[in-house]
Every structure is written in structure tokens, then in C-alpha cells.
């Protein structure tokens, strides 16, 4: 299954994203943002599944995103 790393504005958004995605049955973890995705320290959510569904959940939660990349 494909996975995606979505850089988020803060640890709070990362935790909120994790809660919302897991509630919807999507496997995910909070990780440090890789340096190729966004500068400075920050947190990302690594999620496995359909990116459109993932993005829709994050948007519905008002989660501020800073970048996205396909994971390995």
C-alpha cells in the first residue's frame, strides 16, 4: 500500500491528524518532518492509503499542511 508523508504546521496538528485518520481506520504515525519536505523543525504524519481520502480528512479537521511527498 502506498504511503505519504504530509508536513504539518505543528505537533498539535500532527496529533489531531493522527487521531482523525486512525478514527477513520487509516494507518498512520507522527514523525519528524524530513528535510526535503519542509525546512526547520516540525512534524509530519505518515499515512498509508488513498491520498484523496487522507487529504479530505485532514481538510475537514482544519489541519494546516506545509507539504506532501510520497513515502518509500
Amino acid at each position: 500500500m502506498k504511503n505519504y508523508i504530509i508536513a504539518l504546521a505543528s505537533i498539535t496538528y500532527a496529533m489531531k491528524a493522527q487521531t482523525l485518520l486512525r478514527t477513520s481506520g487509516i494507518k498512520c504515525d507522527v514523525i519528524r518532518t524530513p528535510k526535503n519536505l519542509a525546512s526547520g523543525c516540525g512534524y509530519s504524519i505518515k499515512a498509508w492509503g488513498d491520498i484523496e481520502k487522507i487529504a479530505a480528512i485532514l481538510e475537514s479537521g482544519g489541519i494546516v499542511q506545509r507539504g506532501i511527498t510520497e513515502g518509500s
Binding site: 504546521a9 505543528s10 505537533i11 498539535t12 496538528y13 500532527a14 496529533m15 489531531k16 487521531t19 507522527v30 514523525i31 519528524r32 525546512s39 526547520g40 523543525c41 516540525g42 512534524y43 482544519g62 494546516v64
Partner: protein, 374 residues
């Protein structure tokens, strides 16, 4: 010592709160939101869990729950972050100094303020707020319930007045949160409260909860663990208003306190503590030398202000302390409220029970007051 000074801070705390504080210090030692290692993430999860629990209780989004040192800190953030020098604000005649002093301090730099008189009848209180609105009015800032007499202000109706006039409504919920149902869905834009009072958290915890409609400029800038390459303070919440490491252990314990209140429900807490107040009033009201500051027609939080004629309030409180009862005399950091009810300069003695007080403890206090009031 039996504590009836729970309006200052609740004590003792529920067992679950004490256990959570101990567990936090033992197991949640990482700095939340500052690192990627497991200790840090575990602490961050615990802090977020508290944010989510509190957000659910007050009908807010988790990121709009800001942890502060206390209610005074939260009110200063809200008032100084929203009100600008050319603005006019309205406060009530029952305000604690945590509202009155920041507003007064800002009046020296151009902010204008008016004081709406609070009456026992809500319709008169509402009329006094309405009458003070001007074209340049930015906000109404008022308590949901007085920390001096316990009188509940008609905050839902004041919220309607604020909304009709496009004013920001900032509420001091220090005494009300946890005791009566109150939430952002009551039309509140910013709700400030203490964590250590009726939410049963430890001292050093407070909350600012916003609906996000009125941006709050930070009065403190610093490390947030986010957008660190930029010198500009983040504008998103909670980071904009939460610079520096948060009080992890305090927040985890506060979360346990909030869960305790949710389990009991504010409605049941209000009924139980109000019954303790009725018991106290019925015990001391027949005493000829006792004055109780309650008005017909008004609604009250479970707080009773009283005095013994001819005895300064601090002396009464001191003598009750010698007899094993903790009550607060004096002015309760609210000269405005005491002025409003005519108890300046001496103030009064405040009885404020918690969920952990027992009826027989109230009976003991009644007996002690009877001895002093002879």
C-alpha cells in the same frame, strides 16, 4: 483542616488527579513538541489528549485550547491580544482584578472602558450593558459568575448582545467552568478559566479557549517547535500563544480533573454544592449578628459571602482557621465587586465548597460561626 476556600483553589484534589500527576512525573518526561524521539512523542500525545478532552467539554477545536499558567494569564492574553489602543470595551461591576487591572492598565495607552452595573435582576444587568455600547466598542469582557458573591451573570444573553453588535465576547469562567454548563456554543468568543479551581487540576494551570473568530496577538514570543527557521512568531494556534515548554505534568493532571468533572457532570456538581450552600445558609441565617450577601431574584454559583457584625472579615476568617476551617476573608482580589455590593473597605468572608466537602463538615462550620457570632 477543612477547606471551604475552593473558589481560590480546590483542595483536596480527586485521587485520579493526584495519580495522574505522579504518573506524569514518572513516565511523561520528554519535552512535548520539541523532539522526534519516543519520550517526546509520548508526552505530546498526552498533552494532545488533554487538549481534545477539554475541547470536547467546551465545544471547541483542540488546537484552539491554549494552556496558560492560570486564568489571569489567559485573560491578559485575550484582552491585550485583541483590544487595541483606540478601542472601547465594557466590563461588569463584578469583575475580578484579572479583568479590571489589565483593562485599567490599557486605559493609560488609549483604551477606553465602561463599567456595566450588575443587578439582581438580569434584565436590568442586560440593559446596563446595552446602554454602554458605542460605535468604537470592540469587546465585552465579563465574568460568568462572581468570585465574591457567586452571582451568575446572564452570560448567554450578554453573548447575544455582543453578537448583535459585532463585539468580541471574552468571558472569565474561573468560577463557573466545571460548576455550571458553559461552552463556546453559548456564543462566547474567548473563554478563560483556571485549571486549578472547579476543573480540579493543580495550581499553575489555566485555559484560554477561542472560537478563532478574533485573532489574538501574542504578548510573549519564543520557541514553539514549529516553523523554527522563521523569526516571525507562528500565527496558527496553539503555537501562536504557547511559546516555551508547557506544564506537561500539570496538563496531564488537569486532564484527569476535567475527566472527573465530566463523569460527575457540572449539573450534578452544581446541585450538590448548592445544597451544601443552602445547608450553610439555613444554619447561619437565623443568627442576629450574621449578614449574608444574597439578593432575591439572582442566581448563584455555590458560593456564600457573609460577615459577622462588629468583626472584621479577616478576623472572622482567622478565628475560623484557628477552629480548623479554611475560608477567605477580605476583598478576594475584587474591589469592584465589593464596592458594588457595599462591602468596602472590609470585604466579607467567603464560603466555597467543592465536590469533596461533606454535609457534616458544613455542620461543623455552622457550629463554629455560631460560637463567633454570639
Amino acid at each position: 483542616m477543612i477547606n471551604f476556600d475552593n473558589s481560590a483553589t480546590t483542595f483536596p484534589k480527586p485521587r485520579s488527579v493526584k495519580a495522574a500527576a505522579a504518573l506524569a512525573l514518572e513516565r511523561y518526561g520528554g519535552n512535548p513538541g520539541r523532539s522526534g524521539h519516543a519520550l517526546s512523542l509520548k508526552a505530546a500525545e498526552a498533552v494532545f489528549s488533554a487538549r481534545k478532552n477539554i475541547a470536547e467539554m467546551f465545544s471547541a477545536e483542540p488546537e484552539n485550547v491554549i494552556f496558560t499558567l492560570n486564568c489571569t494569564h489567559a485573560l491578559n492574553l485575550a484582552i491585550k491580544g485583541i483590544v487595541k489602543p483606540s478601542d472601547h470595551v465594557i466590563i461588569s461591576s463584578f469583575e475580578h482584578n484579572s479583568v479590571a487591572r489589565p483593562v485599567y492598565a490599557m486605559s493609560k495607552t488609549g483604551v477606553k472602558f465602561s463599567i456595566a452595573e450588575v443587578f439582581p435582576e438580569d434584565k436590568l444587568t442586560l440593559a446596563s450593558f446595552r446602554a454602554l455600547i458605542r460605535p468604537e466598542t470592540k469587546a465585552i469582557i465579563c465574568t460568568a459568575g462572581s468570585n465574591v458573591t457567586g452571582q451568575i451573570l446572564p452570560f448567554r444573553e450578554i453573548a447575544e448582545i455582543a453578537a448583535e453588535n459585532k463585539l468580541c465576547f471574552i468571558v472569565d469562567g474561573a468560577q463557573a467552568c466545571g460548576v455550571i454548563p458553559i461552552s463556546m456554543s453559548d456564543g462566547i468568543n474567548v473563554l478563560c478559566t483556571a485549571g486549578h479551581k472547579a476543573l480540579y487540576g493543580p495550581t499553575g494551570t489555566g485555559l484560554l479557549i477561542t472560537d478563532g473568530k478574533y485573532p489574538i496577538s501574542p504578548i510573549i514570543q519564543g520557541g514553539t517547535g514549529s516553523t523554527s527557521v522563521e523569526l516571525e512568531q507562528p500565527t496558527f494556534l496553539p503555537d501562536a500563544l504557547e511559546s516555551g515548554t508547557v506544564n506537561t505534568a500539570g496538563i496531564i493532571a488537569l486532564n484527569a480533573g476535567v475527566s472527573y468533572v465530566k463523569r460527575l457532570t457540572p449539573e450534578r456538581i452544581y446541585r450538590y454544592e448548592s445544597e451544601l450552600c443552602r445547608r450553610f445558609i439555613s444554619g447561619i441565617a437565623p443568627l442576629a449578628n450574621v449578614i449574608i450577601y444574597r439578593e432575591n431574584g439572582a442566581s448563584y454559583l455555590p458560593i456564600v459571602l457573609f460577615n459577622i457584625r462588629g468583626m472584621p472579615s479577616n478576623e472572622t476568617a482567622s478565628r475560623l482557621s484557628d477552629m480548623g476551617f479554611a475560608l477567605r476573608g477580605g476583598l478576594h482580589c475584587s474591589g469592584l465587586a465589593h464596592k458594588s455590593i457595599g462591602t468596602l473597605p472590609d470585604g466579607g468572608v467567603r464560603f466555597a465548597p467543592s465536590t469533596l466537602n461533606k454535609p457534616e463538615e458544613v455542620d461543623g462550620l455552622i457550629h463554629a460561626v455560631k460560637k463567633l457570632a454570639k
